[in-house]
Every structure is written in structure tokens, then in C-alpha cells.
Amino acid sequence: MALDSAGTLLAPPDFAGGQQAEEKPRSMFRRGWEVFAENKLALIGLGFVIFVLLFSFVGPLIYKTQQVSVTLGNAYCTPGPQHLLGCDNLGYDVVGRLMQGGQSSLEVGLAAAFISCLFGSIYGAVSGFAGGIVDAIMMRIVDAFLSIPFIFVLIILAVLIHPSRVAFIGFIAITYWPQPARLVRGETLSLRTREYVAAVKVAGGRSSRAVLRHIMPNAIGTIIVQATFAVADAILILSSLGFLGFGVQLPQTDWGSMLSNGLQYLTLGYWWLIYPAGIIIIMTVVAFNFIGDALRDAFETRLQRR
């Protein structure tokens, strides 16, 4: 999912932008935001992500439900004024459950994306900057990670450890970091030949300074775009693990566990156990993809067009 290149950035070059050269130079983020904001899908995506974050983390303060112990008397209750989306098989209110599940899914998604992209970017930048035999060895390790079907590794780890939320973040990060590593290494290969990187060396700066202060900030576009897709991927991975029964443990839940739990009652007509969880997963993943696509356009356009 993260490997494609943007189609939309190939809009015809905007030659009419000639007057802009006389304006005051604007910051790169400002210009990036303007391109981003032109993209309606991106704004929809951003809006939805903010909504889901508020829903999951602030929602429980307003819509109070009991999410710790089982209330069998309420099991399978239909949606109504008391329980907006009904109750599940254990009597948990589904809206409250979605908030609870959202906390797990979003926390794991965001944290795993952050850690894997941070580590992967540094790894990739070091590998590309070092070059030669070091680069060759470091990239073979990345190749090895990339050829392992990671879902198998995740399941093995889940079986061995019965993971907590924190462990899930670590596991997903362990399997995901090679993707940003490869991209950033590619970016570094072109950045390391620039004059300002050579200037660090001439001025007596250390390699670590060149990598951390000069190469990484210039690869930040690639890293942020990759991180956005990583959040979407991590949410999908966690929900898939939930389906196989290796998700977070009761009374906690995540969207994937909710969905697979509801799917057991597929033929009984309890639609509120299936569609809300399914739709919120799809919409959140798609929203992060919208944002990722638009960010890529924004960073690319900054380099190419304006």
C-alpha cells in the first residue's frame, strides 16, 4: 500500500504561477499546507481522523457506559434511546465499545507507526550515508525482513507472549520498520551527494551530525508520508489479529476483535454488532490514506512546482 507513487501529482505544470516569485518567500510548511488544503479528500480525511480521535478519547467522558463487567441482561439489546447502537453478546453498549476499541486501535496504530518510522528512518539514513559494505549488509537485513510474511511472525509472537497493548505496538513496529528504512535509504543516496552535506564534512562535523541534522530533515517529507500510511496499515494489522483471536484481551477490545465477535452472529440479524465496527475500520484506514496521498502531493509539489 505504501509503495505506489502518486498519480495526482502529475497535474499539468502550473506556468501561471510567475507572479509568485515576487511575493515574500513563504515557509515550506505553509506552502505544503496550501497544496494539502486544495485537496478536498485530504480535508475530509483529516476531519474524519480528528472526529475519530475525539470520539474515542473524549467521547467516553460525555457518553458514559459501563465497559468493565458483563451485563448479560442487556445482551443483544436492540438500538434505542438508551443504547444508541444496541448491545453486544456480553451486554456491553456498542457505542461505548467502539470508543474503547478506538482507543486501542488508534493508540497501537499511531504509536507503532511513530516508532517504526523513527527507527526505520534513522536506520535507512545511516545505511545510505555509510554506503559500501556497511550499506550492503544493512540492506540485506532489510531485504530479509521484507521477504518474511509478517502476519505469521506477529501470530507466533502473540502465541508466545499473550501481548498487552504496549507489546502489540512493539511487535508491529518490529515487523514494519523495514519499509521506511528502504525508502529513506533511497532518499539518502541522493541527498548525500549534495553540497551542504559535503560542507558538514569540510567544516569538521561528525557523520552523526550530517545524518541527524542535514539528511533526516530533508527526508522528512518521505518519512511523514510513510508514517501516515503506516498508521493505516497498523490499524488493519491489529484488526486482522483480532479476527484470528490474537487481539487485545477482554475486557479491553479493539475494532478488529469487535468486528470478528459480531461476525459470529452474522446469520442472526444483529447488524449493529457488525456494520458499525466494520465501517469505522474502513473509514479510518481510508481517511489516513487520503491524508497520506495529499501529503505526498504537498511535499512533491513543493519540490517540483513552486
Binding site: 540485506r140 530479509a144 525482513f145 521484507l146 484470528l244 474502513i282 484506514v285 490514506n289
Partner: protein
């Protein structure tokens, strides 16, 4: 060409060795994890020590690794404690079934996704483009198992058109002899794959449309059809083949969800059952085997390329 081949072969061997180390180390992250997983949480310390000795887990890690690697080199994936049978016997039954399903599913996905991606690129920013993009987004925002179970719900439970289960035959011919039962699993595969490939193809074609060689072809008077199919399409396929190689682990790994949903007796289902039984030897064997298949697949793709495209050999 020979130089390239030798370099590429050495790389493959190195990567394979690293893969065995990674999987082995991950497995042993938890000391005594495997024995504890097999014996259950109520096992006493003495039992764990005794069993560790019996299965050789008390030896230093590198000794265990070298032993395991030596067996692997002989095609011996170890002896399965739960099934009381050699792991390799079970694997060779299940693996071809997974390959058949994954191959058909991916092929159908490509046959739908690639032409749609071209159509999107040619008619970019029109209604057709947006509609296909919309479907594509649903395709890769959806967890595979959700797509599969929804298809079962609509087409098997409600409409009674297709069976809810994949073919249960143990032989490949038996599976192929029941194409109606294959339709839903293949459709699930294809829906997810279509989303990916139409997106890749669209951006690959758009990348090529602005290249100089396209302008040259037009300037030389080639028809639009010839420019599209003879020049842009062929160059875009290069990207698609590379991405196909990179996606192999996802394609094979994704089999687990389809096989569990449709109860298809392939390697994914075997892996899932092994996970439920905490049968770690089997899980390790399946992971290593699928990884080696992925690496070999990538090697073949690269060699195919180097023969077709001289630029690759010199890079």
C-alpha cells in the same frame, strides 16, 4: 550478465541466512517460551526443565540454531510434537493448495486491476476515474476477513448462489474440479488485489505518460493506440512486476484469512490451527518455507528482468 547473476545469487543466499536467523531469534525472544506454550501455564518448574532437556532447549542458542539450520538444509523441518509426524510431510500436502488459490486469486485481481488502472490513467480526473478510485479505497481499507465474510453473507447465506465453503478435496485436481466453490474465495482475493493493482497501475501509467519517449513516439506519428499499448503499457508493466515481487509476502500471508474464512485446507489454515495448538515447530517451518519461496520468486523476477532489460544489469 554472468557477473550480475553471481552477485544476485550471493545476495539471495545471504538474505536467506539472515531470514533463518531473524525467525529463530524472534522465536527465542522468550526464554523457555516454546516449552511453556506447549505444557500450558500450570506446568511446574521441574516439568519445564525436563522437557527443555528432552527437546534440546537447554543447549546454547547458537548450538540450537546450527542444529536447526543443518536439518533445514536437508529438507527436514523438524518433528511435530502435536501431530506426531514430520513437519515436512504435512507441509508438502498443504503448500501446493495455498499456491493454487493464491495464484488464481492474484491472477484474477491483476486481470481486473491492471486494465482498470490503465482506464483510470487515460480518463484521469473524470467520473470513471473517481468511481474506480472509490471502490479501490474500500478494497484496501477493508480487512480481508471482513470482505470474505460479507461475500459469504450475501452470496451464500442470503442468496444461496455459491457455497460458503471452499473446495474440501485433498488433491489439486479435486479442488480445480469444483470451480463453483472456488468463486467466493477467489473473489475475496481478487477484490483486495484489484484495489492494489489498479492504484499501482494508474500511477505507473501516469508516471510514464509524461516521459520524453512518449512525446518522441507521438512525434514520429505513432497512433494513440500504439503509444499506449506499445510504449506506455510495456514500460508500466516493469513497475508492476517489481511490485508483484515485493507484494509476495503479503499475498501468501493474506492466504491465512481467506483459508480460515472459507475453511480451505491450505497452509494458512494449517498455520492458524498450529497457532491455536501453540505448535511452534510448525509455525516456524511455515514461516521459513513461505519466506524462502518469496525470496526465490524475487530472484526469478530479477533474472527475468535482467534478460529483458539491459539497464538492470549495469546498475
Amino acid at each position: 550478465m554472468t557477473g550480475y547473476l553471481i552477485r544476485r545469487l550471493i545476495q539471495t543466499i545471504v538474505v536467506t541466512l539472515i531470514v533463518t536467523i531473524i525467525t529463530f531469534v524472534l522465536l527465542h525472544l522468550v526464554p523457555g517460551g516454546e516449552v511453556r506454550a506447549v505444557l500450558g501455564i500450570r506446568a511446574s518448574k521441574a516439568e519445564i526443565v525436563a522437557d527443555s532437556k528432552l527437546w534440546g532447549f537447554d543447549q546454547p542458542l547458537y548450538v540450537q540454531y546450527l542444529k536447526w539450520l543443518w536439518q533445514l538444509l536437508h529438507g527436514n523441518f523438524g518433528f511435530d510434537i502435536k501431530y506426531s509426524a514430520p513437519v515436512s510431510t504435512l507441509l508438502w500436502q498443504a503448500f501446493p493448495r495455498t499456491l493454487v488459490l493464491a495464484f488464481i486469486g492474484t491472477a484474477v485481481g491483476l486481470l481486473i486491476g491492471v486494465p482498470l488502472g490503465i482506464l483510470q490513467a487515460v480518463r484521469r480526473y473524470t467520473a470513471v476515474d473517481h468511481i474506480i478510485t472509490g471502490f479501490g479505497f474500500v478494497g484496501y481499507g477493508s480487512p480481508t476477513f471482513f470482505v470474505g465474510l460479507m461475500l459469504v453473507n450475501w452470496f451464500a447465506v442470503d442468496l444461496h448462489i455459491f457455497p460458503a465453503f471452499a473446495p474440501q478435496s485433498t488433491s489439486i485436481l479435486g479442488i480445480l474440479a469444483d470451480p463453483v466453490a472456488l468463486i467466493l474465495p477467489v473473489a475475496t482475493y481478487a477484490f483486495i488485489a484489484f484495489a492494489l493493482w489498479s492504484r499501482f497501475m494508474r500511477s505507473s501509467v501516469l508516471d510514464n505518460i509524461v516521459q520524453d519517449y512518449v512525446r518522441t513516439a507521438r512525434a514520429k506519428g505513432a497512433s494513440e493506440q500504439r503509444v499506449l499499448w506499445g510504449h506506455i503499457f510495456r514500460n508500466s508493466l516493469i513497475t508492476i512486476v517489481t511490485l508483484l515481487g515485493l507484494q509476495l509476502p503479503v499475498i501468501i500471508g493474506g492466504a491465512i484469512f481467506i483459508e480460515v474464512v472459507f475453511n480451505y485446507p491450505g497452509m494458512g489454515l494449517l498455520f492458524f490451527n498450529s497457532a491455536l495448538n501453540t505448535d511452534i515447530q510448525m509455525m516456524l517451518a511455515i514461516t521459513v518455507l513461505t519466506t524462502i519461496v518469496t525470496i526465490l520468486g524475487n530472484l526469478l523476477a530479477d533474472i527475468g528482468y535482467a534478460m529483458l532489460d539491459p539497464r538492470v544489469r549495469y546498475s
